[in-house]
């Protein structure tokens, strides 16, 4: 394969898990719940997919297990922020720590590195979902009652309540969706590698969050940001040791690029972003 082909393949292969997680983040943040726990949801999704897939020898049950585990964790965030009124950041932090600890525990206790590969579904199916999903979500937001309500609750929960909506219920559904998408993302990561390694998501949840912010909390721009970030990661692999225009660029440069771009965007240098006005409000 030539350089461009590999680049495009990497863009999709490495961008897809980001895109799935970013759509998870979209559901949550559009409903008004700040979510830094995408990483934890993905990690738990990955370990559960690996573990259950391995134990049952069924890729479908593995996927189901991964998605369910991520949904449970995502709904914990809903419970803590909506019912216990916990700060969204503290709750997200705590959930990431829980996920990290639990995944590490399960990994060390129950996965056997010599047991071989875990059964997986077709990876291309995941890629297709990841690329098509943002368009479906954009259409959903535009043409359905549910989309309108999600948008309204995220912008102004108290006025939405006045119009007879129940923000807590809308957010419950939103965080269920967040869990599903993050679970899918974790399952994709573990299915690509075909085995689980410790802390496998390695910060992808935060990159997905960065992409969502860069995309101004809109699904299709967020997808594009994810693909670009995926391309950076791919370039890092491709360019290892190869000088560009005679300059040797350290791999760390490509790794940090997505984060740096996001900081620049947050500083307002890339135009005004459209934060959901009700983010963090009850």
């Amino acid at each position: 394969m030539d350089f461009t082909k590999i680049l495009l393949f990497n863009m999709i292969a490495l961008g897809s898990p980001l895109a799935l997680a970013a759509m998870g983040g979209f559901a949550s943040e559009r409903s008004g719940i700040m979510n830094i726990a995408l990483e934890g949801n993905m990690l738990v999704g990955a370990i559960a997919t690996a573990l259950i897939g391995h134990l049952t020898k069924s890729p479908w049950l593995g996927l189901l297990g991964g998605v369910s585990a991520a949904v449970v964790l995502s709904l914990l965030h809903w419970l803590l922020t909506q019912y216990y009124r916990m700060d969204h950041i503290v709750s997200g932090m705590a959930i990431n720590l829980l996920a990290f600890g639990v995944a590490n525990f399960l990994d060390q206790k129950y996965t056997d590195p010599t047991a071989g590969e875990i059964p997986t579904l077709k990876i291309n199916a995941y890629y297709t979902v990841a690329i098509v999903l943002p368009f479906l979500i954009a259409a959903y937001m535009r043409y359905t009652k549910g989309g309108l309500r999600l948008f309204a609750v995220g912008n102004d929960p108290s006025k939405s309540r006045q119009m007879g909506l129940s923000p807590v219920k809308v957010r419950f559904l939103a965080l269920t969706i967040t869990g599903v998408f993050c679970g899918l993302s974790g399952a994709l990561i573990v299915s690509t590698a075909r085995y689980y390694t410790d802390n496998m998501t390695a910060g992808d949840g935060f990159i997905a969050l960065a992409a969502l912010i860069l995309g101004s909390w809109r699904p299709i721009p967020a997808l594009i940001a994810c693909l670009v970030f995926g391309m950076f990661k791919g370039l890092e692999i491709q360019l290892q040791g190869v000088p560009v225009f005679g300059v040797h660029i350290p791999r760390e440069f490509w790794f940090s690029l997505p984060y740096l771009i996001t900081v620049v965007a947050l500083a307002g240098f890339l135009g005004k972003s459209r934060v959901p006005a009700g983010l963090g409000k009850t």
């Binding site: 916990m86 700060d87 932090m93 940090s256 900081v263």
Partner: protein, 357 residues
Amino acid sequence: MSVKNWVLAGAGAMKLRHLLLIVAGIVSLYALLLLTNVNPGDAGHRLVKGTLGLDMVNGHLSFVSANAISGTLRETCPLLIAGIAVFIALQAGLFNIGVEGQLIVGALTCAAIALRIPGIPGIVLGTIGAVIMGAVWALPAGLIRAYRGGHEVITTIMLNSVAIYVTNGIVSGPLKDVKQESPTTPTLADSSRLPFLYNTSNAQISSGILIGLLLLVAFAFWLRRFVSGYELRAVGSNPVAAKLAGVKTAKTIVMSMVVSGGIAGLAGAVQVLGYTFRYYQDFSQGYGFNALGVALLAGSNPLGIIPAAFFFGLLTKGSSALQVLGIPKDSGFVVLGLLIIVFATIRYRKLISVTES
């Protein structure tokens, strides 16, 4: 407030749902222990012996291992200083999740300087460099929060990742010790290390912990007895009222973030000069996140950081002591996560209602 008042206030604020949460936390911990087939008594015994160095000898509780307690203090020190860093930002109403990144940037800077300049000048300049770099790493988060309204948590998360990649790049490139296989700097000369308070063949206690304690006392004094400390707390407690009271809120936010970052950098410097004597890849074992737990646990009194940091030191040292029993080391994060949840729901409701309005 006396202890009795505190307990009463706590009980008064406690509702059924909080009780449910605590019960759920304990049940999940117990389930975790059951899954490992570890005898809780055995685990407890090893925990006490491995962290405090206490054991039953001939029916008497005796001190058997200086190594254990020195190890616990070694874990406590970075959490103490990083805990102050998180605490100061929290007092201004900011979550500095970036302590992790500010700490490693500071540590690397300090190592780089102390490796080139030997002796006390190296220690001093290295520390100053670490404080400056930590502050610089926190500055964008403060500016973006104060003048652009971007959430400091997002900025600091992003800058953490940048810090990890940048330091990894440097320590596996220009600063790498060519004689070592793994990415690490060379080791500091003896003259470039902080003195020990206690030094035997099997246990050492660095004066780093003393630096942390002194800093904490100074900080606690400043917070209560200086007008600027009063204004910082006002911004964190009610930014609208603080602004109407003539406090320059934007400036205060930037300053508190910068100071917080500087102290995080200091934590990195003390870690290098007092304990590790070098910088290596994956230097921080989640100090920044643990420090957030320390600050949340400490509540509103800065002196609460001491027991909180010691408790987290116990937890860290304890989980390595329990590794022998087959409990994976990082499972300690489960305990940390549960603790934060239980504490935050009960104690931080006020803080939240203020930030909401």
